[in-house]
């Protein structure tokens, strides 16, 4: 018994002395950053964090991947309710409205100002800044990974039908798809119709054609916004897609069926797809040997005055309830990310585009867009800056938009399975989507979007 006691006392004394001995010099302030990217992209984020930690001695960011965007938001909410939230969190584009009403953040512009960083907000591409800014133009979060949708086309296949340029209008696309089919291509164009494709099929299409998705300027002017995609040019678009699908010109490709559309394009199975510029690297790495392909801006209907496309991706939010030291670190981290050199690192290693003009210029001056694997990505910038953002093309600010996207997938599947007509399906999308919006509005009574 005494031996045990003595041993215990010695252990305790040892523990005490180590505890006293450690903090002789200042430890760097550690703070958490949660993000929603995985695989290759997560490794790039880890490198980015390491670069930040190596660049100075005062702060240390601990970067943790939560797997995907949905899980990041869910876990952050759970952590926030338990008072254990990270300091910085990456929230995807459509979570913006939810974040703005959460009351759980520290405005990014205020944070930077308080900590003595001068950020030139006019340096951001307006299409990107306006998506994340309040209606008054204040930046509540920092744009991080940004992309937009592009059309990928197979040059070899188009050469067979005597074309050397990508189609610019949907009328041209229709003719080309027909020609490709006649030339023996089994899958002229691939699409998918799950919730994820709401982005390129509905949101980007509507922005390019300056068509609203919802009233109240896509929700920027109030929580009482309601969907109206069942009476815009989008109806015509879905009707055409369905017609081309029935004629065998458009095929549905998804992972559940065996091959997603990016794989279908990279292997040369399908000749035309619409997807994010973020897939540019993937196609380049996985393409069939010797296949010639390029990217172009998404087509528009003939006679349309083309507007800017929408930014996709995520922004960085700083959450409330942390210490001043944490906020100093967060500000330093955001400043680091804002640096053009970081933009070059980030875009080189991912398919994402730079978010500031200075970042873009820095990359151009470095010859980034002249080299083979990255050539073509500048089309994304051209698409994003095709016009000044209008009241409608600055973005979408709707509550629970994730659920509306899910509803989009549901109704598109019903339409393509011939269960309902195009108009019936889109009417149902609007009806069910409005119920989601109404519920969101009821959850936040008396609150308004900043």
């Amino acid at each position: 018994m005494t031996i045990f006691k003595r041993g215990f006392a010695a252990l305790a004394a040892g523990a005490l002395s180590t505890a006293l001995a450690v903090p002789a010099f200042a430890e760097p302030v550690k703070f958490d950053f949660w993000f929603g990217l995985s695989g290759d992209l997560a490794r790039v984020v880890d490198t980015l964090c390491k670069n930040f930690n190596d660049s100075q001695k005062d702060y240390q960011v601990v970067c943790t991947s939560q797997g995907n965007y949905d899980a990041t938001l869910q876990n952050t909410i759970a952590a926030f309710r338990a008072g254990k939230q990270p300091t910085v969190v990456q929230v995807y584009d459509v979570g913006t409205a939810t974040m703005m009403l959460s009351g759980a953040y520290k405005p990014a512009d205020k944070l930077m100002e308080e900590n003595g960083y001068k950020i030139d907000y006019s340096d951001y591409f307006p299409g990107i800044a306006r998506y994340y800014a309040t209606s008054k133009g204040e930046m509540l979060s920092f744009p991080f990974n940004s992309s937009t949708a592009l059309m990928y086309w197979n040059k070899d296949a188009f050469a067979k039908i005597g074309k050397t340029e990508a189609p610019k209008t949907w009328e041209d696309v229709a003719a080309d798809l027909k020609a490709l089919k006649d030339a023996g291509y089994d899958c002229p164009m691939a699409i998918n119709i799950s919730a994820n494709e709401s982005w390129q099929l509905m949101e980007q299409f509507s922005a390019l054609h300056n068509q609203p998705i919802a009233t109240k300027n896509n929700g920027y002017d109030g929580l009482d916004a309601r969907l109206e995609v069942n009476k815009t040019k989008f109806v015509q678009y879905v009707t055409d897609l369905k017609k081309w699908y029935d004629a065998g010109l458009v095929k549905i490709k998804s992972k559940d069926l065996g091959q997603d559309m990016v794989q279908a394009f990279a292997t040369g199975t399908c000749q035309l797809i619409l997807t994010s510029v973020g897939d540019h690297g993937t196609v380049g790495r996985t393409q069939k040997e010797g296949m010639k392909w390029d990217v172009a801006e998404l087509p528009v209907y003939a006679g349309t005055e083309r507007k800017n496309s929408l930014v996709g991706g995520a922004s960085l939010w700083v959450l409330s309830g942390k210490s001043d030291a944490d906020y100093k670190g967060a500000a330093a981290f955001l400043n680091f990310i804002h640096d053009p050199k970081t933009a070059l690192f980030w875009s080189t290693n991912t398919g994402y585009i730079p978010v500031t003009k200075s970042g873009f210029d820095f990359m151009k001056s470095n010859g980034f867009y002249d080299k083979a694997p990255y050539k073509g990505r500048e089309v994304a910038i051209a698409s994003l800056t095709a016009s000044e953002p209008t009241e409608i093309t600055r973005g979408i600010r709707l509550g629970n938009f994730t659920q509306i996207r899910a509803e989009f997938g549901t109704q598109m599947q019903a339409i393509f399975a011939n269960k309902v007509s195009v108009q019936e399906g889109l009417d149902a999308l609007v009806k069910n989507g409005d119920a989601i919006l109404e519920r969101f509005q009821q959850t936040y009574p008396g609150k308004t979007l900043p």
Partner: protein, 294 residues
């Protein structure tokens, strides 16, 4: 003089029960109570506040046509997958019990599926049943367009039923085999000497004697098919196409966690709980009468 341990004071009994009660309270009654409270309010996801709305959440769910579709889909799924999993397991167990050549091997192998996690087996079945790349691609080559779970709701429902039944065949098999082996050999041998064949012996002796096991598995299978289907649906169909496989438990997840509608999801989970309780009561009330306990 009866020798029995008795407690003079009931407080001692309570004290012994306390650890268990605390566990049940913390992990069952408290969360369930929380769910009931949430279902009667509108919760802001970030915890900024809530509003008492009474039964509004239930009203809006029950007046939603897509929720009734979800209930129907869950019922169809529960009925068919329970039937399949139990029938196949029963046949396999009966055959294994007959000590056919190699039955020891079947005994081991047939238990494995239950040991595989739902998402893993769903991934495997997603590949097997993929219309363009997997095993079913062969079928599609013979009859083009006959199998398309990406757009055809019936095909998608069939996929998740197959995957779920496959898993539960293993579970049911263990219980059926144990039940068969608990039947005294002498009964079966006596019947055999009286000249009854295999099928006759099965229906007249074995089947009636294992009805308690059948009843137990029926209750468990139906309950599990409402709850344990989540991993399979999530990986294989994500509720699609066009909500054809949006089972109740998956809808709770997607509305609650993806849609951040905590109150609506809480209300749905209350409804699901009541439904399972009701189904179980019905089974005990009407089916258990036909069960013979020894």
């Amino acid at each position: 003089m009866e020798k029995r341990v008795t407690f003079s004071k009931w407080t001692i009994g309570i004290l012994f029960a306390v650890p268990q009660l605390i566990l049940i309270f913390t992990f069952f009654y408290w969360p369930a109570g929380q769910a009931v409270y949430w279902s009667l309010t509108l919760q802001q996801p970030w915890g900024g506040g809530n509003i008492w709305v009474g039964l509004d959440n239930f009203r809006s769910i029950l007046s939603n046509a897509s929720y009734w579709d979800s209930i129907t889909a869950s019922m169809i799924f529960a009925g068919i997958s329970t039937g399949l999993a139990m029938t196949i397991a029963l046949v396999l167990a009966a055959l294994t019990d007959r000590q056919l050549a190699g039955s020891w091997l079947y005994r081991v192998v047939l238990i494995w599926p239950y040991g595989i996690a739902a998402p893993a087996l769903a991934l495997a079945f997603r590949f097997i049943l993929a219309p363009e790349a997997g095993f079913m691609a062969v079928v599609n080559q013979v009859w083009p367009g006959s199998w398309d779970p990406g757009l055809d709701g019936t095909d998608a429902m069939a996929s998740i039923i197959i995957a779920f039944s496959w898993k539960y065949v293993g579970y049911n098999f263990i219980f059926f085999l144990a039940a068969f082996q608990a039947i005294p050999r002498s009964l079966i041998e006596a019947a055999a000497m009286d000249g009854s064949g295999v099928i006759r012996r099965f229906w007249d002796i074995q089947f009636p004697l294992i009805t308690p096991t059948i009843f137990f598995l029926l209750v468990i299978n139906i309950t599990e098919s409402f709850q344990d289907s989540f991993g399979i649906v999530d990986i294989m169909t994500a509720g699609g196409p066009a909500n054809a496989t949006n089972l109740m438990v998956y809808k709770i997840y997607s509305d609650g966690f993806k849609g951040l509608d905590y109150s609506g999801a809480a209300a749905q989970s209350i409804i699901l709980m009541l439904l399972i309780i009701a189904l179980t009561i019905v089974q005990f009330r009407f089916i258990e009468r036909r069960v013979h306990y020894r």
